[in-house]
Amino acid sequence: MAHVIQSDSLTKRYGKVLAVDDLSFKIESGTITGFLGPNGAGKTTTLRMLLGLARPTSGHATIFDVPYEQLETPALRVGAVLEATDFHPGRTGRDHLRTLSRAAGLPDSRVDDVLALVELQSAARRRVKGYSLGMRQRLGLAAALLGNPDLLVLDEPANGLDPEGVRWLRDFLRDFASGGRTVLVSSHVLAEVAQTVDQVLIINHGRLVTESSLEDLTMRVGGSVRVRSPQLSQLADALKREGIESSLSNDRALLAHGTTSERVGDISFAAGLAIHELVSEGSSLEEVFLDLTSGDAS
């Protein structure tokens, strides 16, 4: 088995709108892949096509080398959560899971296993309509885990989670993938998954913008440097003479792009400019993401 997921020229057209445009990628086993893009980029549509819920206009996708519909017992291979709201509100969380576990031919004991796994035992016998969004997310995850699958596909799982919930999810996914299993997780916020994923697929307007490891993406950020100085404009000029682009941040600091703090320090020293703060910016990963996805592809 070469690839867990393979998408070949996947395309989906809704009327005049090209939601997914000739999208090809492969996902290898044992990786956590962040599937990123702004809202409306075509992430969910792509996931639906991967999972056989929507039919591609052209192209095709395979999971474990076959179309999803042809998996023998899909719940045992793939766990997927597309919406956090897919429950009958009058049913208890446990009953929801029991229905699905029967459909997959699994024993009821699995239901209790996954409830424990997502730490939802205490609410298991309450009706879903009383669940918080975080609890619903966990219940959805529990359903996906029923068949002890080798692949998890999650659409925006961190939506509506509080910071603690996000951290729980991050730890959970790390744990899940540490055993050689595979995760594909979509998000419109890079920061949400940056600490979790090994690699990223970034799409915009239905097209693949970037497919790279997180390291490469971080490298591409270069060292963006934040610097405060009473003589900002002179400093910007000095940097420019050395071929370094900079921009003013909203808290009256200068962001020097594609350089290192050492270099910015040396340049300002040479120019005789005072510096009050000099920091390598890690968070500008987000800026790369914005750069990649803000351009209008059409």
Binding site: L51, G52, A54, E69, A75, E83, D86, F87, H88, A103
Partner: protein, 226 residues
């Protein structure tokens, strides 16, 4: 469950009202008594509603996504929905028709009204009402697959059963007799003017059932789930 309670309550209410309030001379003839004793076929409405719910509530609450993810073969899934609809319909039919038949017979006896029906009539009523109701369960599943919007499907069903069919039959009986509710009436032994024969009525209702289930399956298989 709510549907079942509704059915029992409605069937009991109507049959008791009809039985006690009808003047004796209006329930004397064979056709009058067919009408009285087949009243339980109202269960068809409930059975169709149950069938509709089997499909549309999945769309309404989004459980259609996990359902399809766990059962990607949509034909197999739809087949099991049809079987479930038929079983629900059968249960509704037995309960609804059983109740109204029992109450109707009891009333006739208590009021000393001679029974104008033969054993053959009785069998036709019972089989027609119960099998017909089971078929309505399947029709409901088909309708739900055609119109996954729950409110839309329910309104369509009720408008069809209570308004459209009667209108068409009133204006164009030669067409109206081929519509499902009137076909089932024929199936239960009504011999009203313009009605099909019992056998033809049965066949027509089966054709409706197969057609709607078939169209439903085709649409369901081709439709993307959002």
């Amino acid at each position: 469950m709510g549907l079942l309670i509704g059915l029992v309550a409605l069937a009991l209410l109507f049959i008791i009202l009809t039985c006690t309030l009808s003047p004796a001379n209006s329930i004397l003839t064979e056709q009058d008594q067919v009408g009285l004793l087949s009243f339980g076929s109202i269960a068809g409405v409930f059975s169709a509603l149950a069938g509709i719910m089997l499909v549309t509530s999945e769309y309404r609450f989004g459980t259609i996504r996990p359902t399809f993810l766990f059962n990607p073969s949509r034909s197999r899934l739809f087949t099991s929905k049809i079987i479930a609809g038929a079983i629900a319909g059968l249960v509704f039919g037995v309960i609804g028709e059983g109740l109204s038949f029992a109450v109707g017979m009891l009333t006739l006896k208590v009021r000393h009204i001679p029974i104008a029906l033969s054993g053959g009539n009785v069998t036709v009523i019972l089989v027609g009402a119960i099998v017909g109701t089971a078929l309505w369960g399947i029709i409901g599943v088909g309708l739900g697959a055609i119109l996954p919007n729950q409110v839309g499907a329910v309104i369509s069903l009720l408008a069809w059963g209570f308004v459209v069919e009667n209108l068409v039959f009133g204006l164009l009986p030669s067409v109206g007799r081929f519509l499902p509710v009137h076909a089932q009436n024929a199936m239960m032994g009504f011999t009203t003017a313009h009605y099909l024969s019992g056998a033809a009525g049965t066949l027509v209702l089966i054709v409706w059932t197969v057609a709607l289930a078939g169209i439903g399956t085709t649409l369901l298989k081709g439709r993307d789930v959002n």
